[in-house]
Symmetry: C2
Subunit: 338 residues, 2 copies
Amino acid sequence: MSRVTINDVASAAAVSIKTVSRVINREPNVRPAVQARVEAAIRKLGYVPNTAARSLAGARSFVIGAIFDNPNPHYIIAVQRGAMAACRQSGYHLAIEELDTAKNAAAQMRAMLATARLDGVILSPPVTDCAAVLDALDAKNIPYVRLMPATAKGRSPVIISDDAAAAAEAARHLWDFGHRRIAVIAGPAGHSASALRLEGFRHGIASAGGDARQVRVVKGDFTFRSGLAAGLALFAEKKHPTAIFASNDDMAAGVYSAAAQSGLRIPDDVSVVGYDDSPVAELVWPPLTTVRQPVAEMAAEAARLLIEGRGSDAPHTFELPYKMIMRGSTGAEPCMGC
Amino acid sequence: MSRVTINDVASAAAVSIKTVSRVINREPNVRPAVQARVEAAIRKLGYVPNTAARSLAGARSFVIGAIFDNPNPHYIIAVQRGAMAACRQSGYHLAIEELDTAKNAAAQMRAMLATARLDGVILSPPVTDCAAVLDALDAKNIPYVRLMPATAKGRSPVIISDDAAAAAEAARHLWDFGHRRIAVIAGPAGHSASALRLEGFRHGIASAGGDARQVRVVKGDFTFRSGLAAGLALFAEKKHPTAIFASNDDMAAGVYSAAAQSGLRIPDDVSVVGYDDSPVAELVWPPLTTVRQPVAEMAAEAARLLIEGRGSDAPHTFELPYKMIMRGSTGAEPCMGC
DNA sequence: CTGAAAGCGCTTACAG
DNA sequence: CTGAAAGCGCTTACAG
């Protein structure tokens, strides 16, 4: 639709197309007055640079890739939403690729790279820790930014949110409500978030003056079902926990179900904290107190880094703040006053 | 990476670049022998056409858009997976856009169209039925294909799977197992699938020789929670249903929870059928009998239609087959032998 | 059935 | 600080 070209803008601003190009690309050496004139012309004409032409003439493809593997749909959607937003703002496209880590991930990565010219790649867990994929990217000299890696953090710019600190805050929150019999439902062993959240929680208890070894730990696998099973097992105990930290919201929802089956009320009899602030957190009753990891913002930051050509910079760590979302599933320890 | 250009291929095959272009674009008027020679050269050199150059010289952008609104993440991911696969095969990109139908959808659509040149657009429910969005697309002359529209099917090519027939099959399946006290948990009123599945189920009962009016209908909204509530209400009745058709898997999972709380076993005491074959269907126990709508394939077909330039053809309907997935949640009516 | 020429809308590499 | 020229790799519109 945009028939307006760089030539039209150049004429309107009475400059050469090279100067318009400089303004578009924020290159130096343009007098402020001239720049203002060009920008006014761009706005007036509704000029949008032709990506195909820019790509053909220059070295950029204007495509950023996002690689996923074995994924939680909510998480993927959040990453996409953030990355897409950043891409759109700069006229980039987001190419989504799903890897099957079970098979030869590096070969799949190379196959993708053979057909698609990418200016950069965003890696999310668990591929974010797949050395073979990083190698394939390095071999082609393609910049990449990783979300929440557990290993090899020195290999690329990295975007994180402090899960351990968030879990510690959850622990203190429960502690401050007077809870002393506390259980954690941990995530699966393969997932780096599991360890981060568990250790963070223990650390929070310790820093509050408690004994981290007193914290009951039950294994889960991030599914509703495992949360239900863990909750049932916990509530069957004579002196069952009065507070439970589930390492994700789905398991917390399972705990809700277990509590209902066990005749326990939330938060009167037992307090529950989840993690992720997924949709289910607002669907359950009472609404779940949980932690929000700014996934979309993290992905957007990764995309921006790549778009600005900073994906090959010396390894940096960009940390974005988590947020505890206080809702109705936590309250005072039942015998506070007994 | 692909330094090989159309010129290299032309030299290798001893033809002009125009002939190579004809082969790439499957244009007519190339002798079979020449075509074979060109294809051999392409293969030998590993030539991949430069999309930016093709786009700049020609009329195509090589970008297909997919519009979503208020979405089930699993569904969106499935649509994306299918559409991406089709796009990748033809060197296209998929641009994903989320609309907020609550706000001015047409304005959002126009804003998107102003910056992105799209060769076609895939619309999925519920935007697939948003007349204002269709108008905006028509105004810009952009072809579109719609997935599962409920209205205005004559406005574009349309991809469907027969939800009503699938629901009818589910009904007959239950009927054949001897069930006569049957309930349906319906979806939300705004969603076209709700009506399709409910009416199809009723029709199935009638065609099996039953009385469709005897089928109990309880309202749900496609969430686990509404399925749980509906199940609890149903199971509280003296002569509770022995079979339940939940209009989606999430609600079916809610029914599982209700059954457990009510001391009912699946499928011994009550049979359950879901719809969607979402991941939860294999997570619950016993695994859920459900219906698979070929969402990814439907999206792939839509993308292919658009890529082949058939998006503006006279309205067609492409129907893809659903599939009933028999698992362990259905069995004989409990008193079959009493 | 095949090809030579022009041009798509930019950026690059220079020149000044 | 600014611009004229060349060229990126294709497709279009013709000519034969």
